[in-house]
């Protein structure tokens, strides 16, 4: 008989199995030619991970909101009864299975497995496959670890690890300078966020260590749960300024990982990696970790109203800001990447407005339809060998499954009923709308989010029509497209199913227990229905505009001197953010560094060399005292004697008399 807690105790397998796969594939991959250079090993481990992950999630649903925590001490200092840590200090790692981590487990393991399977077909012709599968396995391990973290420190640890996996995978085609540069950029920009996050951990830590109950945080690291209760927000009640700062720092970390304004620049460039990587890491899982962090923080740590406003502002603005940049882009993957930023903005907005669970709901559905969009795009790229939308066209006929998948993904993203995206986005907008009465300051950000609905529908269908509609491809040199093998279409179909159905899952009470909080399952009153109507209308309008401009193989070209020209240029230059960051990094920091190097060489070392020369010159002069004449030496001798006598007879008595000694 299976105990409900039985598999929870084995949750540590979730990070461990892919880690094992990492070691096996990394070491033996080059020898496993028949197994797709270890690809099938990774898929096998991925499958096992998915089975365990989903199993645990189902058990969690059935246990209705229980927490299971397993802790292992990482390292500790015993207390000495004094100082800042009188009870000592121990840092733990652990696996915490709670409702939201179970939800994340479904996303990570399912999408992870499907992407691994898809990679067998997609990556088949690439070199360096052992590296690819090893790194992807490591990523899965780290992501599972992150999801299961039971304290902030462990969270940070895996947070960095997924970051470095992302770095490697973005730079997978490292011979391309652009890929190498994009990888570095992604690491550095998220690193800025990581630093803020780390400082946020410190702030929480110190505040709790001084205000929390004895033996609390200081003794146990940084746990999310104390018993089965979210606890910290209450414990930190009296420190609102500090809490605000900590919340903003956490927001900084999340903004780095989830590519929120102003740390959004890296995500579009991260599309230099393989499309599978974009689907898994830069759409479904890792970038969502920032939202997950915010959700966790809002539940266990608590945000002050000022924090909430900042989060809402960042989220709402980012969703609109990123969507505008997607309007004009010609690269199929980058369009989807901007939409990812935009959708993550939605989630952040929801968490900030106080609906963490609604944010996670959207995260859940978004993971599936965005992974689907990326994999469909990957299928297209695999078939035609280009990412330029303006070279494609007419692919709907030759690639029916892919076209269908992209359409499902696009409809879901646009929020057309009854696809997954509709339910979560609608719930999200309705929830935020509900807060406007008490927080009128959220209005502009709500309106931005609403406008984004229109933009989203427009740009994703622009991409859809450009790629799939029309008679034939615009660039005749492209190869004839055809559908790939089942390893690629299988995951597409599976994800299509999820992108259609996942939105309805919270209406099942057992599943809804994974999202315990306001707004789940969605409630449909009069105002919500009206709002749904508005957003559906906006989405339909967007699709219609896209069809009228780009449908049936048309290519819209604006009048040469219209006002759209400069706007288009501004959008294509991404509002000059990347240029500004490059300037800061290259001219600013590097220039400073060169200046410092100059100071080092010519001033610090120059001083030393100057001293050396000064002493050298002095000794050159002094050596002439050594005349070689014996009588001179005798004179020195006598002078010494005289000095001693003078000291004994005159100076010493004088010193004694004045009390100097």
């Amino acid at each position: 008989m299976w105990q409900a807690t039985y598999l929870f105790d084995w949750a540590f397998l979730l990070p461990l199995l892919p880690a094992l796969s990492f070691v096996i594939v990394g070491l033996l991959g080059p020898r496993l030619k028949r197994l797709e250079h270890g690809g099938w090993v990774a898929v096998g481990f991925g499958f096992a991970t998915m089975v365990i992950g989903v199993w645990i999630a189902v058990e969690e649903m059935l246990s209705s909101g229980g927490y299971t925590d397993q802790q292992y001490t990482w390292f500790s200092i015993p207390g000495n009864g004094t100082g800042t840590f009188p009870n000592g200090f121990s840092l733990v790692v652990g696996t915490l299975v709670d409702p939201i981590s179970a939800l994340m487990l479904i996303v990570v393991t399912v999408v992870g497995f499907l992407v691994l399977l898809y990679s067998i077909g997609y990556m088949h012709h690439d070199g360096g496959l052992p590296r690819y599968y090893a790194e992807l396995s490591l990523f899965l391990a780290a992501m599972n670890g992150l999801v299961l973290s039971d304290n902030l420190l462990e969270f940070f640890l895996f947070w960095e690890l997924v970051g470095v996996c992302s770095y490697f995978l973005i730079g997978f085609y490292y011979e391309k300078p652009s890929a190498a540069s994009a990888a570095k950029e992604a690491f550095l920009v998220t690193r800025v966020g990581d630093i803020l996050f780390l400082l946020g951990i410190f702030v929480y830590f110190a505040t709790y260590a001084t205000s929390g109950s004895a033996g609390g945080w200081a003794a146990n690291g940084f746990p999310f749960v104390q018993g089965n209760q979210p606890f910290l927000a209450g414990a930190m009640g009296g420190h609102s300024t500090t809490l605000t700062i900590a919340g903003l720092l956490i927001l900084g970390g999340a903004a780095g990982k989830s590519a929120q304004f102003p740390l959004h620049v890296w995500l579009p460039d991260a599309m230099e990696g393989p499309t599978t990587v974009s689907a898994l890491i830069h759409a479904a899982t890792m970038v969502a970790a920032g939202v997950y962090l915010l959700a966790v923080a809002s539940l266990f740590l608590g945000f002050t109203p000022a924090d909430q406003l900042a989060i809402v502002a960042i989220g709402g603005f980012t969703s609109f800001f990123a969507a505008t940049m997607a309007l004009v882009n010609t690269d199929i993957k980058r369009v989807i990447a901007y939409s990812t930023i935009s959708q993550l903005g939605y989630m952040v907005l929801a968490v900030g407005a106080g609906f963490a669970m609604v944010g996670l709901y959207h995260l859940f559905t978004h993971a599936f339809f965005k992974a689907l969009l990326f994999l469909a795009a990957g299928s297209v790229i695999h078939a035609v060998g280009t990412q330029d939308l303006f070279k494609m066209g007419g692919l709907g006929k030759s690639m029916r499954i892919t076209g269908f998948a992209f359409l499902v993904g696009g409809l879901s993203l646009s929020g057309i009923v009854p696809f997954a995206g509709f339910w979560s986005k609608d719930d999200l907008l309705a929830s935020v709308y509900g807060t406007l009465a008490t927080h009128p300051v959220y209005w502009p950000f709500f309106l931005m989010a609403l406008a984004t609905v229109f933009l989203t529908a427009y740009y994703i269908f622009r991409a859809f029509f450009l790629a799939f509609s029309g008679p034939a491809s615009r660039d005749p040199t492209l190869p004839t497209a055809h559908e790939a093998s089942w390893v690629m279409t299988g995951p597409l179909l599976a994800l299509s199913g999820l992108a259609m159905g996942a939105g309805l899952l919270p209406f099942i009470p057992a599943f809804a227990s994974l999202l315990p909080g306001a707004g789940i399952p969605p409630h449909y009153g009069l105002s919500e229905l009206a709002l749904s109507g508005i957003s559906l209308g906006l989405a339909a309008g967007g699709i219609g505009l896209a069809y009228s401009l780009w449908g049936n193989g048309k290519v819209y070209t604006a009048a040469p001197n219209s006002a759209l020209g400069p706007v288009r240029a501004l959008l294509l230059r991404r509002y000059y953010f990347k240029d500004a960051y490059d300037a800061i990094g290259l001219r600013g920091l590097y220039g400073l560094s060169r200046a410092a190097d100059f100071v080092e060489r010519y001033m610090i070392d120059g001083t030393v060399h100057g001293l050396e020369r000064a002493f050298g010159g002095l000794s050159n002069r002094l050596r002439h005292i050594e005349s070689g004449v014996v009588l001179d030496y005798a004179a020195f001798l006598v002078s010494g004697l005289l000095f001693l006598l003078l000291f004994l007879l005159v100076i010493a008595p004088w010193l004694v008399s004045t009390g100097g000694i």
């Binding site: 000495n80 470095v164 490292y174 630093i195 400082l199 920091l589 610090i604």
Partner: protein, 488 residues
Amino acid sequence: MFPALSFLLLTLLVGTVLTFLSGRWARWVALGSSMLFLLEVSGLLSGFSWPGVSASGVPQYAYAESYPWISLPWLHISYTVGVDGISLPLLLLTAILQLVTVLYSFDERRQPAAYFGLVLLTCLGCAGVFLALDVLLFFLFWELVLIPMFFLIGYWGGLRRRYAALKFFVYTHVGSIVMLVALLVTAFYSHAPSFDFAGMYVPAQALGVTTQALLFAAMLFGFGIKFPIVPFHTWLPDAHVEAPTGGSVLLAGLLLKLGGYGLIRWGLELLPTGLVHDQPLLYAVAFASIIWGSVIALAQRDLKRLVAYSSINHMGIVLLAIAVDSNLGLLAAVLLMFAHGVVSALLFMVSGSMHHTFGSRDIATVHGITPRTPVLSTMMMVGALASLGLPALISFPAEFSALLATWDRLGYWVLVPLLLLVVTAAFYLWMMQRVLFGPTEGVPETARDLPWPEALAMSMLVALTVLYGILPGLLTNVIIHSPVYGLP
């Protein structure tokens, strides 16, 4: 009780002498001696139990031995050795680095007997510094380290080796003189009954605030040159760049640690009040080192120079961790010294291998080496990632603890080292982008991947990096057995 530490030093000495004498078999003798050393230290670790602080408040040491050496009515110098949780990990580091250095340089052709002998002598000196608990004995070993390193740089070094060797010698010697004076003044001024640590412990702590502050500042200068602290650091890049790879490894891995160890053992433990009084100075120096090392590293083209400057940055964090004067900070300081010893050794080996594989360490001319030399590239990647503080690698727990301790004392000032972590990441990532990735350029046709001794040596360091990164408890459980943690 068996005199384990004296036996250790004796076997080291015998090994060194035999290496000097054994001509073309020197490398095997050196290897055997290094393995024996590591074995002995492992034995010490497994049998380590710290006797704690005595009833009279004087710290005691494991494996302690004490014999009078010079005994005059006014001067008691003894041969006193012993270990606690601070010195034992560093002793382990010495043993590890000696072994990997010998392994790495296994194919040294120029005067191998002298080379390996000097390497062993350097390690003997370092081991002695970590073991010695008497001022004069400490100073003896401290100076002993200087001489073989001088010759290693001066004979086996690069083009500007004479300049570098002399600069190294003059700088560190000035430092040791000031250090010696400070130690002697501490001993005499406090009327300590003897020169050994236990004898000085209580009287030195009873010194007045001003005296302690002045003495601690002097020790900061003396030990700080070894650290090195800005602005007395310029010997380090030159010495590292010109030294042979084995010399760089020992220099970064061990010699810098001597400064940190000395400052904890003889500075912080003897003059705690002085440290507290000098904290503003310490913070200033530490921040300066952190900022300067990191910012300048960004402009370097020579990989060795880059790693050298990043060492200044890391040792600045060590100094900061010592300066905050909390049990967490000291734990972090020792852990970080160990971590930096392993990681910088790895990075200097990578630089050395890069030099003799491609004939250049210039990161502006050698590009895209990964397809040609995958093993070297992997090592470089692990080294760089470990150095920029990636979790699951050895530096992370150390840096995390150090920064947490800093936050605990200094609040938002911790932003300084935190933000510089970004710069550290920047120069390593930039270096990797240029050297490892992109199209292959500047790689001679004859370039081959690592020979086995170098690959083996680096693999050992990588394994350690991962092992202690995942299980830092292996080290921290040893480190906490020291009086500075105020344990019962």
